[in-house]
């Protein structure tokens, strides 16, 4: 009897630490955010709230959602558009460009050392600490001190097409936003794809080579089809990551200091939804925690809907084993 219970208990003993940490770091904050989204919490009543979650000074209200859904906040629509542009463009870099890149690095380049060097180089944007990454970008795009415009002129881009300021002039500012995040995202796709390419049994490729297939034909007819599931995985995972990523935009457009970066990010049309939420909570002088929570709850709803859709479309089992090669 005792043995049976322990059998049943064993998995849960293994899982217990994980579950506890997930509850602490994920579940509790999520529940709390749902509550906060329906309050008028701001720096006015925050200290009272910390002492007592149900203080009378914090009022339950639907106003936050009214502001969002009835477009009382005129910025909601624009933030939505920018977020859509941002997610779709960076996603195409992450999923499609990264695929071509991985084939080039992992299959076309046969020299192991060159391939390794390229892989490490592509990982640099991801492993470089965020503030340093933002700092060097700020230097790179500077019209006077930076290299970007020089390089582009060198590559034959006419000067009339170069912006006076990469930070400020849309669509250049939006291109910058996409590229900065694209470099970081491309490496995620690259990791997953190169791993998958390397695990393709060599006999399949050799057989095709014996049959006289060119490398392009192999890439097109053997590798790409085999990477279908990894690709779906990268797309679904990265959509969700991108929806909530704002750090690099914040660091690049906010680095001037002195406040008002939210206004500048708006003018440059790079204020994505999650950054908007962040700026309401942490940058505005009055710290509208309630409204910011409501804004991020919208992201949660979008994220949950997307996850359910992905489960339905791709099939849960497949998503669970994303880069298992099906030969």
């Amino acid at each position: 009897m005792a043995l049976k219970i322990s059998r049943k208990m064993l998995p849960w003993i293994f899982l217990a630490p994980m579950l506890m940490m997930i509850i602490f770091s994920w579940i509790a904050p999520v529940l709390l955010t749902v509550y906060l989204g329906f309050t008028d919490l701001s720096s006015k009543n925050f200290l009272d709230f910390i002492r007592n979650f149900f203080t009378e000074n914090v009022h339950l209200t639907l106003e936050n959602f009214e502001k969002i859904f009835f477009a009382k906040d005129p910025y909601v629509v624009e933030a939505l558009t920018i977020t859509a542009i941002y997610v779709v463009s960076v996603l195409s870099i992450n999923a499609i460009f990264a695929l071509v890149l991985s084939i080039a690095i992992a299959y076309f380049v046969r020299n192991e050392i060159v391939s390794m060097l390229l892989r490490v180089s592509w990982l640099i944007p991801r492993i470089m600490p965020g503030i340093i990454y933002a700092l060097v970008w700020n230097w790179f795009i500077d019209p006077k001190y930076g290299l970007l415009n020089t390089l582009l002129k060198f590559a034959g881009v006419p000067e009339a097409l170069l912006p006076e300021s990469w930070l400020l002039s849309p669509p250049y500012s939006q291109i910058l936003m996409i590229v900065v995040n694209g470099y970081v995202g491309a490496s995620f796709g690259m990791i997953i794809y190169t791993a998958a390419i390397k695990s393709i049994p060599t006999d399949i490729i050799n057989a095709a080579l014996v049959d006289g297939a060119s490398d392009f034909q192999i890439a097109r007819h053997i590798i790409v089809p085999l990477l279908k599931w990894p690709m779906l995985f990268v797309i679904s995972w990265q959509t969700l990551s991108l929806l909530s990523s704002y750090e690099y935009i914040l660091m690049i457009w906010g680095s001037g200091g002195g406040g008002g970066y939210a206004g500048i990010a708006r003018a440059a049309k790079v204020m994505v939804w999650s950054l908007y939420s962040y700026s309401k909570a942490f940058a505005a002088e009055e710290h509208l925690y309630g409204y910011a929570s409501a804004l991020s709850l919208i992201l949660v709803i979008v994220g949950v809907v997307l996850i359910i859709t992905y489960f339905k479309i791709f099939g849960f089992r497949r998503l669970m084993e994303p880069s298992r090669i099906e030969v």
Binding site: A28, L36, F49, I50, L101, A104, W122, W237
Partner: protein, 297 residues
């Protein structure tokens, strides 16, 4: 061997195709790297230059930007702590996150992969679904929770608290990766060891563990990085300068971009970045094995 097989078919077409192939590889994989390389180069050159440089040509070669390595940093009238204890704190934080993530997610991943229990499928679904909750949402609420727990100003305990949170945020993804590695180990292998007379523990240690080591390496890399570059939590909750970490120290150097000592900033940035790049360069092979596991089918 493959080359030999191809020998007979070498002709003009193949050569052209090869040229096109490498050209393509250069356009796709090398040219976009120019910004990344030039940025690193700029950091490196700037850190040894006495003046702010235009482009990437050094001027006035000097080591004074690196003076923080052997003397305390002084800016204006303010003296900042020596960089080595700060590095030690950063290392403590990063390794703490790594250790915790590896321990917890290996246990969890093993259970999810190898054990039958009620609600297994739902739990796996749930772990993936956690990704739908954006980190921004957690930030505000974590702020409330941590303030309520009184994490502020408890010295090393504060750092331990931060380790717990950071690890908690990394664990779903890490568990999932490591589960993939366990999945790839055939049951037969484990059985074979058991049949050979190993105890379950010994089988685990000698057969399973080596096969999931690459997976452990992969999740270590990600969690190390997340701990190494954590800023906001440390800045907010650490009161005493003695417990600063590198990102916080660098923040104090940059300030609001006024009075910047660009040379020292570049040197600090490089000092902060180099360990991660070395760490990755030596271990990036592990990343190639994500989800694939140790055994080719």
């Amino acid at each position: 061997m493959r080359k030999k097989l191809k020998m007979p078919s070498i002709g003009g077409k193949t050569i052209i195709l090869n040229v096109v192939k490498y050209l393509l590889a250069i356009i796709i994989a090398v040219i976009p790297l120019i910004p990344v390389w030039s940025m690193l180069l700029w950091l490196a050159v700037q850190s040894f230059s006495g003046r702010v440089i235009l482009g990437i040509i050094p001027s006035e070669v000097t080591f004074k930007n690196w003076r923080f390595l052997w003397s305390p940093i002084k800016m204006g009238l303010k003296e900042y702590p020596n960089i080595w204890p700060v590095t030690l704190n950063t290392l403590f934080l990063a390794l703490g996150v790594t250790g915790l993530v590896v321990f917890v997610s290996t246990l969890g991943g093993y259970a999810l992969s190898r054990m039958e229990f009620k609600g297994r499928m739902e739990l796996m679904q749930f772990i993936i679904a956690l990704h739908a909750f954006p980190s921004i949402i957690l930030l505000i609420a974590l702020f409330v929770i941590l303030n309520n727990l009184g994490l502020y100003g408890k010295g090393y305990m504060t750092l331990v608290g931060i380790i717990l949170i950071k690890a908690g945020l990394e664990i779903p993804m890490a568990t999932w990766i490591i589960k993939g590695f366990f999945d790839a180990i055939p049951w037969d292998l484990e059985w074979a060891a058991l049949v050979d007379g190993c105890t379950r523990w010994k089988a685990w240690r000698t057969v399973i563990l080596p096969l999931v080591l690459p997976g452990i390496g992969a999740i270590s890399i990600f969690s190390f990085l997340s701990g190494w570059s954590e800023f906001l939590l440390v800045f907010t909750y650490v009161e005493d300068e003695a417990y600063y970490t590198l990102p916080v120290l660098i923040y104090h150097m940059i300030g609001e971009f006024k009075f910047i000592d660009w040379g020292m900033l570049a040197a600090l940035g490089l000092f902060f970045t180099i360990p991660t790049i070395i760490f990755f360069s030596t271990s990036q092979k592990l990343l190639l094995r994500i989800y694939v596991g140790g055994i080719k089918r």
